[in-house]
């Protein structure tokens, strides 16, 4: 475990890289991992955001932001070929079903709608491609001071082809909402999701990537957290061939709070990438990140990059990020990189931790010594590993659904 604790007045750049390839590595982390010299986070944050795809050069895979992504499996989302396929009649369809509790509105709007781009502007070529190519955006609004008792559900079932999407979730001041964005089906998809959390509002946003095995999905999820507002983001990725989710958090006023939870299960050949940036540019805000993943099978690959930047103005910041990976078989690979950059010493706390390990043989022995067969013991351990995180979500219906999904993964894959 690595803790980077700031010292008063110091500017610290913390960067840890953990590479786990195949067998052998019991635990990786600082001391066993490699420390690398990297492009500092603020340079990445400073990449000039743009809505225009032409403002970004075509990435070739050696750039810091793309170095773990198998570019040839992106379905051309990064080099214009997906967009031209769509333009030449290869555009796919999505079956979208909405469940809107009373008071919640959903509109489809054009790209000139003023509400678009307020939470964040695309920061890479795929996100800009999505913005340049989508036809209509979905805007879901929860009116001010409306406290929902039922979740807003957005079910997206992709029916093949290429498609670009834009979704805005606008939670007005002092409203409280749970929004579940559920992805199923297959196709090549790039999207921008914007989360506007108004002053004093509370949003739990759950994004489930339950794709079929061959789907490609790249999404930038930008959140703007208002004064004294709180965001809980839960990203759950099970399916797809290549999934790359990029949650970003900025704060619009002091007192904002962001909890970012993630859970992923990579099977043979799957590339599941989660990279997040929390940009603390406002005083007295808090962030807490916990991502947990399990991997199994040949060439299962998980990437987790957690960037936290505490700018000079962000006095009183309190942040911690934590990534844990459980490697269940040989042949799987994890890249786990927490980054913390601190430009002010006047903060409450800042730290990060990353650990990647295999099944603990002693745990398995203990369970087996109580008569529990090996396969069931392994499932018990993995279930426990995820249950700790799922219990944090705080919405029973979603927790139950996720544990069922985990159960199904375990039945199918962990024996």
């Amino acid at each position: 475990m690595a803790d980077v604790q700031n010292t008063s007045g110091a500017t610290t750049a913390g960067s840890i890289e953990v590479g786990t390839t195949g067998a052998g590595a019991q635990l990786a982390g600082p001391g066993t991992g490699r420390a690398t010299v990297q492009q500092p986070i603020d340079a990445r944050v400073a990449v000039k955001p743009s809505f225009d795809v032409n403002d970004f050069p075509v990435p070739h895979g050696r750039e810091e932001d793309w170095r773990f992504t198998p570019m040839h499996r992106l379905g051309g989302l990064h080099d214009g070929t997906a967009a031209s396929t769509a333009a030449r009649g290869g555009e796919g369809t999505d079956k979208v079903e909405l469940a809107l509790p009373d008071g919640v509105t959903a509109e489809t709007v054009g790209r000139d709608d003023a509400r678009l781009g307020k939470a964040g502007t695309p920061v890479d070529r795929v996100a800009a491609q999505a913005f340049s190519a989508f036809e209509q955006a979905l805007v879901v609004t929860v009116p001010a001071e409306t406290v929902l008792t039922e979740p807003v559900k957005i079910d997206v079932h992709a029916e093949g082809g290429v498609r670009f999407a834009h979704v805005v979730i606008d939670v007005k001041p002092f409203a409280e909402a749970v929004v579940v964005l559920n992805h199923t089906g297959t196709g090549t998809r790039a999207a921008n999701v914007e989360l506007l959390v108004g002053d004093g509002a509370k949003l739990t946003f759950v994004s489930v990537q339950d794709w079929e095995r061959d789907a490609v999905h790249v999404a930038q999820q930008s959140a703007l957290v208002g004064r004294d507002a709180s965001l809980k983001s839960v990203i759950v990725t099970f399916g797809g061939d290549l999934v790359r989710i990029h949650p970003r958090v900025r704060y619009a006023g002091p007192g904002g709070e962001a909890e970012l939870y993630g859970l992923y299960f990579a099977d043979a050949g799957q590339h599941l990438e989660h990279r997040l940036i929390i940009d603390h540019d406002t005083p007295h805000c808090r962030s807490n990140v916990v991502y947990k993943g399990a991997l199994q099978g040949q060439d299962a690959h998980a990437v987790w990059v957690g960037d936290v930047l505490i700018r000079a103005a962000a006095e009183g910041t309190d942040t911690y990020e934590h990534n844990r990976n459980l490697v269940l078989t040989d042949g799987a690979r994890v890249d786990s990189i927490p980054n913390l950059e601190i430009e002010t010493g006047e903060i409450v706390g800042a730290g990060h931790a990353s650990a990647t390990g295999r099944f603990d043989d002693e745990q398995l022995f203990y369970l087996q010594a109580r008569g529990i067969p090996a396969d069931e013991a392994r499932r018990l351990v993995v279930r426990g590993f995820f249950a700790e995180l799922v219990q944090q979500i705080g919405v029973a219906e979603i927790q139950d659904h996720l544990m069922e999904k985990i159960e199904a993964e375990l039945e199918a894959n962990v024996g």
Partner: protein, 254 residues
């Protein structure tokens, strides 16, 4: 009547520079209803005996046999041994994050009994067993061994012993790290199980302290990877007074 027969058991571990033999010909027969204390100095191999019987992968049996009612225990996997009726209470029980005690106990009982215990009687059974060990009911909702004190871990081991009702119970240094109160509570739990007459107990210990609570039928002195002397409860008194020096210096150990 269940009988565990250990014959000329030799066990090695992988060490730097190749395998190192720890057990050098152990012979012992434990019958249902009997209590055998295995006593010996540190490093004599008594814990290795306990873990080898349970099938810990770290230990390699190089020769000898272990039979439970004529069945070859050494050919069984760890979980098969447990289901056949071998129970090991560990000196250092392992944490299993995210798995609650109640879920763990029920999963284990289901595995050992061959069917899920009926919910109503099960809840009562667990409650009573926990109360007898003076365990707070809230304990059931905690994760297995996570953040448990030394005494809580040992009570949890004996709780499992009471619920799983093995034929052969191997208790590895169950007394170590316990204060007097905890030692009494844990010993009473062991005695409850013993009093059924249905379990053969192998009590592995360094100290004679626990034998004030648990009266053994046989005491064996373990040194240099084998039993070097066997006797009745009076042998424990001799060890209490004279220590292990005679056995260590006598060349029975390395």
């Amino acid at each position: 009547m269940a009988t565990l027969e250990i014959r000329d058991l030799h066990v090695s571990v992988d060490a730097e520079g190749g395998p190192r033999e720890i057990l050098r010909g152990v012979d012992l027969t434990v019958k249902q209803g009997e209590t055998h204390a295995i006593m010996g100095p540190n490093g004599s191999g008594k814990s290795t005996l306990a873990y080898s019987l349970a099938g810990h992968p770290k230990y390699t049996v190089t020769s000898g046999s272990v039979l439970l009612d004529g069945e070859n225990v050494l050919e069984m996997t760890v979980d098969e041994r447990a289901r056949a009726g071998v129970f090991l209470a560990m000196q250092y029980p392992v944490e299993v994050p995210g798995v609650s005690v109640s879920n763990f106990l029920r999963t284990a009982a289901t595995a050992v009994r061959g069917e899920a215990p009926k919910l109503r009687t099960w809840v009562k059974e667990v409650k009573e067993a926990m109360a007898a060990l003076q365990m707070d009911p809230a304990f059931a909702e905690r994760n297995v061994n996570e953040g448990f004190s030394g005494g809580e871990k040992k009570r949890h081991e004996i709780l499992q012993l009471e619920l799983l009702k093995p034929k052969i119970a191997i208790l590895d240094e169950t007394d170590s790290g316990l204060d007097v109160d905890a030692l009494r509570i844990v010993s009473e739990g062991i005695n409850r199980v013993r009093s059924t007459g249905e379990v053969g107990t192998l009590l592995v210990t360094h100290y004679t302290r626990i034998l004030r609570y648990i009266q053994p039928d046989y005491v064996h002195v373990f040194a240099g990877g084998r039993i070097v002397e066997s006797g009745g409860a009076e042998l424990a008194d001799k060890l209490e007074n004279e220590g292990y020096e005679a056995y260590v210096k006598g060349g029975a150990s390395e």
